[in-house]
């Protein structure tokens, strides 16, 4: 039983990171039709910016992590906004080229990270209270899992509130549903594009920092490996749907953990791929319809 609880909480922690990456991907695709391959690079850059900053800050591990995280989030947001303004916007109305540019950007940023910080993993500053465990129903659960789950939950609530109660949220939701109609009504959807990209970059960088805490280190391949599962989460959850993304992120994280433990290590990834195949065969449009809720 205690193992099951540990697996569940760890799966939720993993799902939380998937959700942070996938929510941005899902909104960007839902609104703009751009499959953003550079999203993993936003994550990696955010994580490395956090690590780099933390090495220049004095104080305890907690201070280092906090200051580093803020710098990482700023870097991820800024990078994403710049990418949208400089690279995606000029290719408006050329969706294939937009995807290609993000592919090229993923390669460039990946190579740049390797050039600057090398291939080796870097130790992330993790305060000891995050490594300590809390006992719940006999299961010793590392505290960082709760941090991940809480952060993702806050982002989910914040994002949902933003989409539901603000004017920009309204424009984004309408844009996901029917972009041409929103444009026809005289609203410049393109301003929302930059915003969605920046938000996606922010969430991705957050996932990068949290993955640094979760794994205890950052390495150049982190973004790419998490991105593939985030893609799977987005497809299962249905493009453009935040709620669907959250549900499928949790499902994917849990299945991965359970299959890895109860079946055999490494089987979790295969189980997730199998799940994707089954979902696509039964419901090609994903678990929820294409509406940003």
């Amino acid at each position: 039983m205690s193992t099951f609880i540990l697996l569940t909480v760890t799966g939720l922690g993993l799902g939380a990171m998937y959700f942070l990456i996938a929510s941005g991907l899902s909104l960007i695709y839902g609104l703009m039709g751009v499959l953003n391959f550079a999203h993993g690079a936003f994550l990696t850059v955010g994580a490395y910016a956090a690590w780099e900053t933390s090495t220049h800050v004095g104080g305890g591990q907690g201070t280092k992590l906090l200051v580093g995280a803020l710098a990482g989030l700023a870097a991820g947001t800024l990078l994403a906004a710049l990418v949208e303004l400089l690279l995606i916007r000029p290719l408006y109305r050329r969706p294939i080229e937009q995807v290609l540019v993000t592919v090229g950007l993923a390669l460039v940023l990946g190579a740049l990270v390797e050039a600057i910080w090398g291939f080796d993993a870097r130790q992330f500053p993790v305060p000891s209270w995050l490594i300590d465990t809390t006992t719940i129903f006999g299961a010793n659960i590392p505290n960082d899992r709760f941090l991940e789950i809480a952060t993702a939950t806050l982002v989910l609530i914040g994002l949902t509130a933003f989409l539901r109660y603000t004017r920009y949220g309204l424009i984004i939701r309408a844009g996901v549903e029917n972009r041409a109609m929103v444009t026809a009504l005289g609203i410049d959807v393109r301003r929302a594009f930059t915003l969605v990209f920046a938000l996606g970059g922010l969430a991705a960088a957050l996932a990068g920092v949290l993955s640094g805490v979760y794994f205890g280190a950052v390495d150049p391949g982190r973004g790419t490996s998490l991105l593939i599962f985030a893609f799977i989460v987005v497809v299962i959850g249905g493009f453009g749907s935040i709620g669907g993304t959250a549900v499928s992120a949790v499902v994917v994280g849990l299945i991965q953990q359970y299959a890895n433990y109860y079946a055999s290590s490494g089987l979790g990834d295969l189980a997730v791929v199998l799940l994707l195949a089954v979902v696509l065969l039964l419901k090609p449009e994903g678990l929820s319809p294409r509406v940003a809720h």
């Binding site: 695709y29 000029p90 090229g104 390669l107 460039v108 190579a111 799977i232 490494g266 295969l270 791929v273």
Partner: protein
Amino acid sequence: MIRVRSLGVPLLLLALLAVVPQLPLDIPVIFSGPLDSPGTLGLLALCLLFAGVALTYDLLFGFTGLLSFGHALYFALGVYLTTIALTQWEWSLWQAVAVTAIAGILVPLLLGAISLRVGGIAFAMVTLAFAQAGQVLVQKNPDQLTGGEEGLGLNSDPLPDFFVGVLNAKNLYWLALGYAVVVFLIVRYAVSSSPGHVWQAIRENERRVEVIGLRPFGFKLIAFVLASFLATIGGIVWLLVLGTGASPQVTTANFTLTLLVMVVIGGAGTRYGALLGGFLYTLLDQRLGALAGSSQVQDLPTVIRKPLSEPLFILGTLFILLVFFVPGGLAGLGRRLRVLRRSASLEGNR
């Protein structure tokens, strides 16, 4: 359009490529040794091989409009199944190749039938996921079969002598050239056959193909299986050309992305473009690393030197610039130059 006129140039180019191993020419900067040296021949063989593999991807992406992110899976199938058969099961080369070729038809037939049930981005994601499953399988190293992250060394005993060793670099070069030529001829035939016309119609507008009364699924499956099969064979050739063994690098999503980059650099939907893109990309990828180690680059300040020492940084930047400023890739550039020249000569006549 009848293109009898254009047959001369390719044949001349082919003849030139075929005699390269006999030419003791020295081309500085681009190649480190004379053309007939084993090192240069090995590099050229790799370039020709990837010219062919890029063309198999173009068959999917450029001609049929199927954006697959899992093409690496079928290339890796050729690499790994052949290596396992030769090294672990100690089969003869011909047995290994025959079984790999059969798998190269059956596996894409099954996976293609599943993934082609969805279109567009969902198709891209499913193929990516299947390729990811392949990568996981290789990493997981069941029964010590695949060698995991270390890769699997190739047992060269069952190989015929003329494919082994530095002295036979020539034969491997011709093998790679032969692969590129065969892929080219097959793609050329397939694209101009009647299913080939349907492929291009699907690329332009799938709905209209359905309205005409054809079912796109079968045609897309044929294209998928053909392209994947040719990629599997490409994997076998890659294994022979390198002669070292299977490496998990060929299973990664990045490997598929580089194929996409090759095709787009050359020009998607054009046969010569894809060949050229694959050739140039591989050449740059292999040689930029060496150039980065040269003294001119080493003297540059760190901020410039470090990114320059990463071939992917330069190639990725080049790729983005091409997407921005040269839609249609190098082939498109050539076409546009021809149009310009023609309009210039028309101006002159006027």
